[in-house]
Symmetry: D3
Subunit: 248 residues, 6 copies
């Protein structure tokens, strides 16, 4: 089977990952998975949500949105619609959980890192690109905190990246573009740490059920794709061995 | 390891499932998974959302909410807070997807079935109880449509039920209550059809990563729990062989 | 004249009143007036609204809502509509005023009792059923406060219950069901204390004006119906003479 | 007992009622009950709410609001608070019901009269002043409809006015000002037609219960006050005998 | 060219300006520019917005709204629409900036003066009438503050008034009414202090561009109109020489 | 006087203007005025707002927003705050008016061009950069309409660009960056067409009044800056003589 853009079933799209694209944020990254482009910023705030006050622990909170013309058809803004978008809220909850898994919240102390993922252009995989790019912004923000506050080490526990996999015409595919995603019988988003363990798995078969065997094949494919994303993150961040447990 | 309520690791909580608890709705059910109680109603509307008009296809749309004192602490109402609750929106999207997988939307014709899941009391597993109970309300609403409109058969493709599984202290547990859920390292919700294939899998490891092996153990446990729920649905609905593909 | 359900003009519908239906709330009750069913919970909070801070006085605040399919046609949720429902707000203000009249707010101290009345099924009289059921939940919450805080006595001043009366075809009727209520020329809700004095009277004649004589007949009928509700509340609550001024 | 402003217990405050204060509205009036001032406009719209389309019947819909500094302390605007005010919604529902009782909705045809009552200054009795003034605006709008559309007669059934009465220190008082209203044990708003029959009665005893005898005394007092308001409306409107059933 | 109402090109409409029209506000004024009527109140609050706390400086904040039937067609209320009106927000920001320019915010101390401008009837020029009338309410509120708090002098820096000018059929006109404003090629609002210097200039040519020469002619015309408004403000306020720098 | 970044008083910041940065929009541009960066897209919709239906005329509607971390401090999203931002609404109204002045709305026909200006990074002048960049996106969208619909010519009347000017320390400055803007006594935004005529002038002197002479100096400076922006737009768009009246 030939994919729309000629890729093999297990190939990622062309990747771009650029650090420091925003001059104000404590950490920032621009990431592209093919035509999907996301701006990620990390903002440090010296307080935590009410439920953590006095706990000594920190927090990571994420927001996700799309520019109106990130999509083929223009999408009205949430502020015009007067209410948040359910899909966006679901995605930002996923981003937040995934990045909290990466951070040592105790070592972070009573601080919040706000992650903003704004989709400039959408061609499938915006949530996985967001997680992968936001991790880079997050690490730079953690370095900023470490240096400003004299922390003994980076409050980082894991390296986190994400990719989508799916079944299209019965065939497992890695990193679906929008057109593939629209036609897929099964769509699965996988968030994984540097040691191959999972942070989150979301598999959905609205148009078709999926068997355990198919699902296993998808997870294998995801693992391979995420390994490449982990390598890209590490080289972009220029991580030193002292900065953590991060080993491939 | 002893569970809080003395169950074995692979036991469901006491189940209750009652059809027809609402005198107005085209289908309704009250379900209890232990102390978790949900009222499910199915409402038939003779129109579809804009994107389906003229397509000949139907739709299933779900809404989920909790009564303010369903929880240990009183939760303010969404209408008081002035905005929908992100967690609730995520859950109702899951319920909607899961039940659409059960229905033959072409055979349904241009009709919408609205599913309302209102949690009367919450003790963990409200989303899985909602899906399991809502399936019963849905089938009665589909019967109502079939009988009113002389459809040749029930527009049903699959039988759908759901359960939660998780790792607590490294141990896989079936059907977590609130206290177990709060302490679990990994939480996974599984929606499955009558033939053992998956509709949806959502595995989350915010406090801990999880290995492929643990995840496999969780899926095995879920399969076993859902089989029991499928049996309960079938007997409650008194499904006749003519009503469908439903066989265990 | 025969009523729809065969009752005599001065008969209440079959009543059900069950205490303690919610395992988390400090007080709770499920009440049914015929097919009308309401869940009432009372939640104790150790603070008061801003206008009472430092006053030493407590408060009772009520919220009222209907499940979407409590009604013949499904009603969209307030949170979906994005704004509170005017009818519901009017009713919850009435419930709040009525229950505050029952409580000794000075003796209560700086605490708020939140009353939630959620209509599971609606067949007329939801506001009067709510007040009557909520009183039971309230008393159990006051007992909880008394026992927890060593109050010398129950901070209760009055026993409060409510019923609807109306004119249909010129005939006064007690406890109208939905079909009667829709056709009634005059609709009146009466809230009364144990000594026959009024807490609130709301008489409305949108489709017809009403004379002083008719109104007097309605108030007589209401008094008789409320006396029966007072007896039911007392036996359900198992009120002891020491608990208050409550005598028939 | 002397009242704050020296009135006798059964005296209204100085009344002002001016027709045609707005140059655009189909009907308008400015009314003052002492320091309480309300602007009332009536707007004619050639359509009806969805539930009346095709019925041949018309509708009257009311909105009520206060300017921010109508009150002793400035009140934030609803649009700033982002949600409608529950008290205002309750009042506008009362105004709407009261004026619909005045109109022959069949004869009105499929038109809506929008009533806007905006309180310029508030010193108690704003809802009763609103109803009394809005009736004048309404009649002018009905005349406008009659003349524009060649209706055979004014689609008017009743003359409607309203006043507040209350018990203060056990004494029945007519037309309470803000200070009296704040201290009253019982507050009652009465809407009455030209023949002495009631449109609406709302009696509330939050701080004290009230007996049947006290309530009877309040209704007597209200009747006397409303008769004076009816006379003022008639002379202001310069009603001709042909315009209706209106006789004192 | 003859204007609709017979005015010469450089004539203001008949002006009315009345102080103290509201009995509760610390300052108030009713202003009319022809058929345009605005109620302006000034409310003193003993705190400032968060960004000024601890600064020793005060603030002036303005809100602007129209009654629903201020206009030829009834305009739905913001609270009904559920969101603030963009035009209204733009105008209230202009009013706020203009009046802050008039006040010595340091001398005011940590207090906020809230300005409310409510348009009773609109016939063009509502924002300029609002600014001109609100200045009068503001000065009375500043006098109230001075007298209550023993300030050495009125915390006033400038006298501020505003007028609209525009090009209609190529002709510069002063103080446009609604019909002129609708047809104008260019519309310009000018806010000016007592010494002829500008506070704000907003010139808009949506239907036609405008040259520097035309714009100069408009500013000349505005200056002349504002001088008359300054005189009216001074006589209405009965300003004494000791009260400030205000000289024509 | 030396400016912060070493520019002379009449120098623009380094400009970047890139066409076609979005692969879905009918027109798009990325513009930078120094560190200020804005993404502008133009979307074509084949319908018009209600007030233009059947008129044969088209419309241009603009929306403006900032990414949360476009600013030094993170700004919460409008959708999180639950209400649109007043400053943003004012700016998008300005952008809409300015671009409508550029278009021949009759020749456009019943179509709407939606302009979205999203600020990626803000360092002063976001509204003027938005107008200048959006013009480029708009022209490409008009070309798309012309080519798709066989219009005889481009429905364009004027070339529009904008710049800010201000007084800082009494000195007129062109194209203020954020730090200059914060300190400026007077801030003025000027929108101008290719022939030197004005589309819009907004001059504000909150912290200081401004004389006619200063204002004249600001307008002169703006004219010179806008001429450079016009040249950049023309070369970026590669406008041919046949495409319009555009000549410098």
């Amino acid at each position: 089977m030939n994919r729309i853009d000629g890729r093999s079933f297990d190939a990622l799209r062309p990747l771009e990952l650029e650090r420091g694209c925003n001059r104000y944020a404590e950490g920032s990254a621009r990431i592209a998975f093919g035509h999907t482009q996301v701006l990620c910023t990390a903002t440090v705030e010296d307080k935590v949500p009410p439920f953590l006050r006095g706990s000594g622990k920190g927090w990571v909170s994420a927001e996700y949105a799309m520019l109106p013309r990130a999509t083929h058809q223009r999408t009205p803004r949430d502020s015009t619609r007067g209410r948040p978008n359910a899909r966006g809220q679901e995605i930002q909850r996923l981003i937040g959980r995934s990045l909290r898994a990466a951070v040592d919240l105790e070592a972070l102390g009573e601080r919040t890192v706000w992650i903003d993922c704004d989709v400039i252009q959408a061609d499938g995989g915006t949530r996985t690109a967001s997680i992968t790019g936001a991790f880079v912004a997050l690490v730079d923000a953690l370095r900023w905190i470490r240096d400003r506050n004299g922390l003994p080490s980076l409050p980082l526990r894991h390296q986190v990246a994400a990719v989508s996999v799916g079944l299209l015409g019965g065939c497992p595919l890695l990193d679906l573009c929008y057109e593939e995603d629209s036609g897929a019988e099964v769509d699965c988003n996988v968030v994984m740490a540097e040691d191959g363990r999972f942070v989150e798995i979301q598999g959905t078969g609205e148009d078709a059920l999926f068997s355990r065997a198919s699902f296993d094949a998808l997870l294998d494919l995801a693992r391979q794709g995420i390994a490449a994303l982990h390598r890209l993150q590490r080289s972009t961040l220029d991580l030193s061995p002292e900065e953590g447990i991060l080993g491939g």
